[in-house]
Symmetry: C2
Subunit: 80 residues, 2 copies
């Protein structure tokens, strides 16, 4: 099965990378952009046939390795 | 309006960051993970009321700044 993971900074956590992107967009004339937040997106295959089990394994991966749960939220979708 | 942008490496482009994540997952006992690919996820607000226009503006941002279209694909969703 294929899993898609989004890892985003929690609300209230400063996002200097997003701020830099926002400033660059403004510098390129895209003045309408605001509140830019940058996160990570991870796609992976998982050798598992049960969708619920696959999801819980990937959530476990997020908690143990992929996300820093102090400052980041994660969400997992299983596709296929 | 809110836009969500996914930027992923094109197929065939080596992804050393994804490979490093995969190796780390294996090292943590998640042997079922494979084909890990890491991309970027950007959320932003755009001061625009027309969804089609907002989408085309954000696609323009991707082509001009956010994505390296030689090696990366991007996809834009407009929500709200």
């Amino acid at each position: 099965m294929k899993a898609r993971v989004h890892i985003t900074l929690k609300n209230g956590v400063l996002d200097p990378q997003g701020k830099a992107v926002e400033n660059a967009l403004h510098g390129h004339g895209f003045k309408s952009a605001s509140d830019v937040r940058q996160g990570k997106f991870i796609e992976l295959n998982i050798a598992e046939t049960d969708a619920a089990k696959a999801k819980s394994t990937v959530e476990d991966m997020c908690r143990k390795l992929l996300a820093n749960t102090v400052i980041e939220n994660f969400s997992v979708e299983v596709v296929d």
